[in-house]
Amino acid sequence: MAAASRRNAIVAVAVAVLLAAAAATMSGYPVYLLSLAMINVIAAVGLNLLTGNSGQISLCHSSFMALGAYGSTLLTVRFGVPFWAAIPLGAVFAALLGALLGAPASRLRGIYLALATLGFLQIVQIVIEEFANVTGGVRGLTVPKPTIAGVRVSEYARFLIVLVACALAVWTARNLLASRVGREFDAVRLSPHAAQALGVSVHRVRLAAFALSAAYAGVAGGLQAVVVGFIDPVEFGVSASLRQITFIVVGGMGSVAGSVIGAAVLSALPEVLRPVKEYSDLIYTSILLGFLIFLPNGLVTLWHRATKRFTRGDPAPAPQGSAP
């Protein structure tokens, strides 16, 4: 157990160093794409804790990204808060609204929860569009170039910041899942009845999951604003939420590795799909349905099967469906 987690840590550090080294030799565009992929990983990690572990569907994960993005950008633009402080503050803002939504939403299940989160997404969209004198409305908002103590942060340095944030997101999520917090998320998903009989407040756990996942999304949104240099409401619409659900379904529900794999693999997709860009929602939805039907526990199950065969030589167990 300890040896396995040490091995995982070594692999993670090796991947991070390799990425950093590779990016140092690359030109601007691939580094930019890598940054966006890692931002997607952060968002997916947060969504997976909510949906894969605590068992709550959300169609407004992109709204929490928007809250982080607009929150941090407005702090920078209006109050001169440096980006490295504004992004965590934006995440706190997203988490607070996550808790606010979670308070009623954690009493809802299934289709009702889906509708409630869709409603929240619409509200955030409308607020951004209607308060145009603050948010820039549908025309969007230009994000100032990030500086530290007056010195412009280079594109490569920005990449390294995203890399560190991504590593922290993965590390903290793994720690949480290995702790009582993650166990209670899983317990509440698998049997709320048994969980409350053991003293677990189902409502509080579900609310905490909403706030926590919103915090990850808030960080992802703040970083995206800085990396892209521009934000507008379209970027954080329902398509983005759907894309994030696809990440975790394709990667593997309830698994941090699944979030990483799903977001990484699918982040490459828009580049591949560039010639048929107008069909991207259709393609994402097809992938989502395909995985739900044929590989409901995602790509990580392939990995588990392969390693199990390799290490033990026994046939892998049949995958168990665990869609929320």
Partner: protein, 261 residues
């Protein structure tokens, strides 16, 4: 002495149906009380009412003299009322160890920020919790299943896990809903011995629903008999086996004779 559990005039309604009618029960600290009755008598509903899973239409529930009626189920659990389930309700995708760890409440409570960063405090608490859970696995002969997913366990083992998980929460009063259903006779004997041993050594009061009269004779100090949502008799197991109303309502002549033999 204050009763460990006092149920006073509890009524539970499902729509127009009276599932439990004016039900009262007193259990002294350290007592092992049986609750029997035919299917549909309302036994499980009584447990659900005590644990706050279903609302009371009338009456109240006291633990050590303090009312727990109206508290949410998790709060009642934290006050010290634990339960097991007729159909176990396992966390199917979690390992047996993780199932029991959910029950180990006191040690593992840690602020989320500590858990996220795996601080020394978080690791120490987790270590304590794992040690306590492992002791519970040991007591119920579950160590070999430690890393097995609960969904893959045979039913008898699952029932043992349910008991280990409930006891890990360290209740003062434990409600057991058919703890030996689905177990072989020898499994049932061992589970009963373990439950009784723990009840005595940890001063846990038990309220047990059980259909197996042999188990009830071996385990319970006294028995409450229910029919149609109400108490029809109360006394020692031997008295209940001779009680005319109980034989008519529940045991039948043959079973009364069998269990007495």
């Amino acid at each position: 002495m204050t009763d460990r559990l006092a149920v006073e005039g509890v009524t539970v309604k499902f729509g127009g149906l009276l599932a439990v009618r004016d039900f009262s029960l007193r259990v002294a600290p350290g007592e092992i009380r049986g609750l029997i009755g035919p299917n549909g008598a309302g036994k499980t509903t009584v447990i659900n009412a005590i644990t706050g899973v279903v609302p009371l239409a009338a009456g109240r529930v006291l633990l050590d003299g303090d009312s727990v009626s109206g508290l949410p189920a998790h709060a009642i659990s934290r006050r010290g009322i634990g339960r097991t389930f007729q159909h176990v309700e396992p966390f199917g995708e979690l390992s047996v160890l993780d199932n029991v760890l959910v029950g180990v409440g006191r040690h593992a409570q840690v602020p989320m920020a500590h858990a996220a960063m795996a601080t020394p405090l978080a690791r120490r608490r987790e270590g304590d919790a794992v040690r306590e859970a492992m002791a519970a696995l040991d007591r119920f002969e579950l160590l070999t299943y430690r890393d097995t997913r609960a969904a893959e366990l045979p039913f008898g083992v699952l029932k043992r896990m349910d008991l280990a998980r409930a006891l890990a929460a360290n209740p003062k009063l434990l409600l057991l809903d058919e703890p030996t259903a689905g177990m072989s006779e020898s499994e049932a004997d061992r589970a009963i011995a373990a439950a009784r041993g723990i009840a005595e050594s940890h001063d846990i009061t038990l309220l047990v629903i059980e259909h197996n009269m042999r188990v009830m004779m071996a385990l319970a100090h006294s028995v409450t008999v229910m029919q149609n949502g109400a108490v029809i008799a109360e006394g020692t197991p031997a008295e209940m086996q001779r009680h005319r109303a109980v034989i008519d309502a529940y045991l039948g002549e043959e079973e009364a004779a069998d269990a007495a033999a």
